[in-house]
Symmetry: C2
Subunit: 400 residues, 2 copies
Amino acid sequence: MAKGNVIVSQSGGPTAVINNSLVGVVHEALAQEKVGEVYGALYGIRGVLDENLIDMRREAAETLERLRVTPGSALGMSRRKLTQDDYGRILDVFKAHDIRYFFYIGGNDSMDTSNKVSKMAIERGYELYVVGVPKTVDNDLVITDHCPGYGSAARFVANTVRDTGVDTESGYLSTPVKIVEMMGRHAGWVTAAAVLGKVDEADPPHLVYIPERPVTLETIFADIQEAHEKYGGVVVAISEGVTDPQGNPLMTAVQAKDAFGHIQLGGISVWLAQQVTDNLGLKCRFEKPDTMQRSSILMASPVDQEEAYRVGREAVRFAAAGQTDCMVALKREPGPTYHCTTFGVPLSEIANQEKNIPDEMIGADGHSITAAFVDYALPLIGGELPPYARLARHAVSKKL
Amino acid sequence: MAKGNVIVSQSGGPTAVINNSLVGVVHEALAQEKVGEVYGALYGIRGVLDENLIDMRREAAETLERLRVTPGSALGMSRRKLTQDDYGRILDVFKAHDIRYFFYIGGNDSMDTSNKVSKMAIERGYELYVVGVPKTVDNDLVITDHCPGYGSAARFVANTVRDTGVDTESGYLSTPVKIVEMMGRHAGWVTAAAVLGKVDEADPPHLVYIPERPVTLETIFADIQEAHEKYGGVVVAISEGVTDPQGNPLMTAVQAKDAFGHIQLGGISVWLAQQVTDNLGLKCRFEKPDTMQRSSILMASPVDQEEAYRVGREAVRFAAAGQTDCMVALKREPGPTYHCTTFGVPLSEIANQEKNIPDEMIGADGHSITAAFVDYALPLIGGELPPYARLARHAVSKKL
């Protein structure tokens, strides 16, 4: 195994910890004798195609340390569906720069890209070590216990939905319904995290709608009315990608598509809040924190920060040890204390697969999340949220 | 000055620290010998009218401590415009329960209510000490340096707009425009806080629209195009209450009104994002964190938490010392280290007044915020945000 250069790149939507993975790759690459130059490709795979590379060895150590608590993707990102010609070009660029190690930080689209690059290298007899670094707030990669980026998004959602829920509860008499819209096209992992601060049944959120459970508007209306009668107000957590039972977006509005053919969602909360007000006569507000969910540093999970860094370093170690065409996955080890180890999974087993929330984590009513999910997700956000207080409210006898 | 009982109540929208003020009032009331019973009125002034009172002496000390880090209004809130009859009823309830101290935690509507209660007590010759406790994320009370609740909302906005801005910047090639909508009907204090994490001109947010500077849609379009050319992408912070130069809501949509005749705003970001996409052909996302701004405990300002508690305690001390018909105001003392003292202001000077952002804190272009604002607001959120890193991006020479 000859000495060679590294390219690392970041793909798809950022997370609060994606730069931790970048820094993990760079730190470990700098430590490996087999590694020559360490390049970053700007704007995802586009940076490789355009030979838009930067020299990571020349970045200050302090910059790298600070990047670990800086959101966004430091190398920039873009969305581009690659053609067969593009793969040929990637290999040409790799050869020209003597790139022998390619680390792609991304989700399942990126693992598919990595897999195709790896296959083409083999076809052309070019020695190349390709290791994927998992990253997605959607938490929808298969095989790995969870995805770096998810824990921080989940911590944002757990905290802010509890907080805004408690705020909403104070004002049930004025505005009894609140809709909070979370990220998640096909999987409800981020939305489900809204329950992680829930202690009592009466605590918000009361209704959780996720893509795993298609639903009609009529059912949502009935659920809201029932919860309103029961609790005096209703906090709803809903995934942007919730569909009706026919698989159509619940929101009846014009939808745009991105380069991968994904529908660009967003706005289901706006639409649903209007529907609730118009049809149920209940005053309703909505919240759409959108990319705040994946970028908040104060809300980031310390567990997630550490793991994101670790999978970056491990990717380089795997490649240096001769592993290729694989992604670093996390395995939760048994025991009283949460701990994950890493292992390599063939990219072909990850690419274009999606992991939804399993049935045992979803309530039979279709709008609640079970204790099995809480057990799974709580360690990922760093453990239980500090308890909130409610006044006991001992009534004073009326005198008038 | 005879011994008498206390009623404390919370009015209007909650803040992340309004319970600190409640606990401050209760702690100090429990410490004052002149105070007999300590009652909380549930759901604002409505709790007084309905004699819906609870005994704060019977609440556990631990509950009170935890309330200091619990969002929402622990006593609940409601919005109700009082009639002349209502004021008579309030006095009747006070007499029936021997209430001699009334502490109302709220904004300018609440100070008006407190002022009227106080005046009616004098008219009827009923000895009553009324002290208002300032609370509003809007920061629009006059005379006081700032309002408890504001610092925490400002810290949320400073952090999340910087974070989502950096996230957006990573993806300018995909989605070059982001609109973030902040609370603020008539004053832009919360929105202005979006700049508190800005170091360079190129840092997000690039455009800040506040109610103090009416604007046309055409101007916003031109500003966005200019910023897009300059920075490659644009992050816009906008107040929900921005109007056109004729004073009409910028957003041309059906508007509802609340009990005080305030227009219920919200949704300007949704509307503007659509306008930008349709008219400029730039892909645009929006964020509307709504009440997350006033409820996030992890984002709360420690300075704000302490001051909210302190104004609660001070209100009781003022009343016990014979002051009435006043509000506790904050005065920023000169010196190298930020520090505020408290003083009493007649309620009539606060009621129904609004403090907008002064001209020297707004840029001549109408869409920027000056260093004078940063100097004013930074101490309120607990000081400068930790720095973020950007890669130096030393280019690697192309080989192909």
